[in-house]
Amino acid sequence: MRWFDKLRMGTRALFRHGAVERELDEEMRFHIERQVSENLAAGMSALEARRAAMIEFGGVESMKEEVRETRESNWIHDFVQDLRYAGRMLRNSPGFAAIAILTLALGIGANTAIFSVVNATLLKPLPFRSPEKVVALWQTESAPGSYPLTGEDYLGWKAENRTFESMSLYSWPSHSNVTAGSVPEGATVVRTEANFFTLLGVSPLVGRTFASGEDHNGGAHVALLSYPFWKSRFAASRDVLNQTISLNGEWYQVIGVMPAWYRTPAEAELWVPLDMSKKNLGMRGSHSWRAIGRVKQGVTIEQARADLKTIAEDYQKQFPDNNRDVDAIVTPMREDLVGDFSTQILIMFGAVGLVLLIACANVANLLLARSTSRQREIAVRSALGAGRGRLVRQLLTESVLLSLAGGLFGVAIAFAGVAILRAELPDTVPQPNPLAVDLAPLLFTFLVCLGVGVLFGLTPAVQSSLVDCGNALQSRGAVGASATRRGRWLRNALVACEIALSLALLAGAGLLLRTFAHLRSTDIGVRGEHVLTAAVRLPEKQYKTLDQGTEFFDRLVAKLESSPGVRAAAIASKLPLRGGTNGYIQIPGQQTDSMSGPLVEFSSVSADYFHAMGIPLLEGRELSKEDFEVTAALIREEVAADKAGQDLKELAKKYVLPAVINQTMAKTFWPKEDPLGKTYQNWVAFRVVGVVGDVKQSRVRDKAMPETYRALAWDMGEPSRPFSIVVQGAGAPGEATNAIRAAVQSLDPNLALFSVRSMPQILAESMQDTSYEAVLLGTMAALALILASVGTYGVMSYVVGQRTNEIGIRMALGARPVEIMAMVLREVFSVVGAGIVVGLIGSIAGSKVMKDLVVGVAPFDPATYVGVSLLLALVAVTACYMPVRRAMRVDPVLALRYE
């Protein structure tokens, strides 16, 4: 029966709370009245009788509270009550609640989103079988840097090594005309050795990967699809395995689809087997291929590296012509994929950490300011019989409620943030793992915020135990002076920290923005505002000879030039800022250490290229029609001689081809001479006929390299390689796009256009990293600025509010508003100034990490630092303006009465 009674009473206390409380009141009232009547009977007066009874009874409320404490169910009840109370408190100060929740949400959300990126790229193991055993293979050359592998060296390494379980070769991505259905479209294709995906240990989502032997004899005509390609072209149909697709005019059987998360290495839309025949892989000295390897179990990467180095040294002796400086480079896969980006990602991570710290400082500050103003409330409650534990529990509930609300919004922000990052992250940022919201950092940041909330939410309870109840109640407005001073010191320190951290973030963002501005204003050497570009790739089957290729492109250019809205049209082997081919040249009469001089960029262009691209001619002339013919003549002869197996060296001696060079090349090789008429050797001799302005070849931030332009026919021996169409339009970009598409389709309806981009687009893409970094860091800096100004505002309005009484007295005694303003500003400036000084020292010390990211501006650029300091000071002063103005408007009489 006992447990049943207990349960009945417990549930009654919980659900019929009102009735139980009423009964308790009734019981107490009865007791007192019974005593009153007893006292009356003893001869006391009515008033005296009641008073005596009340005194004898003691504190009604504290006794009721003690009675309530005996009820077992009361923790639930207390909780509900606390929750209701906390909700009411937060509703009563919506500004405080909104700021605190927003602060928490931003701190938690932004952190989780960025940490998810860090985790996916830097921390999580790569999604391969025993990922620590997978390495990337590269070679060295006489010039510094990592070079792709030569086919023969690779085959040698593969046969002779003793430390690798397997190795796999793969190509660079290439644009191909893919027909999956009726319309030809451009797609990126990577050719891999058959064992590529087996080596990684990645299974396909549908079907199979390449079987061994499919890379023999020219490569089997089978294709693996990437998930996005499968989704867009085959509507994710399982039936895809029975389909064939046309790749540059040849049919390929679809054998499988890779999982959606698979991106790197060998990022592509389609994979087909690489023809592993020696003929296809090319000669020693021709660095064309990428490779990965899997180190044997029990073998370290160092051992594998040493193993390959031994083989490479052997080749250096065996093949001194080609392999004199060729060594092996073995890099762990993750380093290979994210090496360049780890600095940037870590900077972002650091920035997010700072935002989290600022958010925490803000929440702490808000709660502290609040706690001091609640000291009286707490004192009243404890005088009314609220136990210490009960008070703590109630404050805890409030803090936790706040943190939970912040956490909830934080989760929403985290998901939104990751979705934005997933869409906006530039392709250049490697994503070996799929990007998703990570639970761990979400939990971590949430717990940090919760911890701060609880810690600082409890200060009123702690302070109330330090301050005597009666004292707190009596001292009214000027609550426990010593506690206030300590609180104020802590709050000021927190604000100073916020300012310092914000300054570091703002400085970083400022540097990136200046870098971005610098890059934007950098001249890349072309007048590209109205230039539209696109790429085409002629199918090998139909376009075998130079004349077929030349005919196609001549007709294309003619058609384009007669199209409405086109001012000039040209064909080029590569575009500015898109990277390209380069090599070494020899110059007669100069030191010809073949491979140690500066690299020279090679471009092949059609007649009107400089005009179409807006590249200025500085000296001499452009390439003429005769120049194209003599170049074409050599290439025709070369192709024929190559087929007949004749010596190409003799052939080369017969020709001197015309070439145009850029300014840097002229200055590099003929610094004090007239470059016109000079020659250089690159298989055949070239004579310089003109000098044009420099064009940035790969990145805006890099200097232009020496570059030489040859007649388009130079690269037309192989007409099926990709060429770019360049059109100088007169009107809207869309018009030019249609003109290009129409012209190409009218010549060959099976050709697809790739990478249709305007020059401004290419420029924007090439700066995507910097703009992305600037936007990300700028957003976080803005966030920091908002949080810091909110923090400053909160503290200042509190401090000024506390001093309203004092301000009133001062004004009553004749202080002028200016003096009051000066007094408040002195305090603001001491706090803000301390923050700025600390922030400046910290960020200048830390500016080294930014040196790889900034261009055209020093990492400790004084203008940036002065600018952000002023900005912060301005924001801080603005944040104080409202509270100070409020205080000064107060009627001195009212202020004196102010409690």
Partner: protein, 109 residues
């Protein structure tokens, strides 16, 4: 004022149980009766009485019912339950044993 020690608290419980064992009584009457029976030696503080009553009720040793009081007012009457009677007998025996033991010790001097 500090809380009563366990001994005192336990003693108060026993006194209450003993009092309501005779007949159901309300809080005021319980306090009065303990005072009278002890010849004004034991004064039960209200601040301790009601929490003790509610705790005993919570434990199921007494049960409460609203009834008419001697001056025709509604009052909450507490009565001993079966479980309360058992508990009381056990506690009473404990107490007697304890006080006898203390008495023995005191007699030595």
């Amino acid at each position: 004022m500090g809380k009563p020690t366990d001994l005192v608290q336990g003693t108060l419980d026993l006194l209450i149980l003993k009092t309501v064992a005779l007949e159901p009584a309300h809080g005021w009457a319980i306090a009065q009766r303990i005072r009278q029976v002890s010849k004004d030696v034991l004064l039960v503080n209200q601040g301790a009485l009601y929490p003790a009553l509610h705790r005993l009720e919570q434990n199921g040793w007494i049960k409460a019912e609203w009834g008419e009081s001697e001056n025709n007012r509604k009052a909450k009457y507490y009565a001993l339950t079966k479980a309360g009677k058992k508990y009381m007998q056990k506690e009473e025996a404990n107490w007697l044993r304890l006080s006898a033991a203390i008495g023995l010790v005191l007699k030595i001097g």
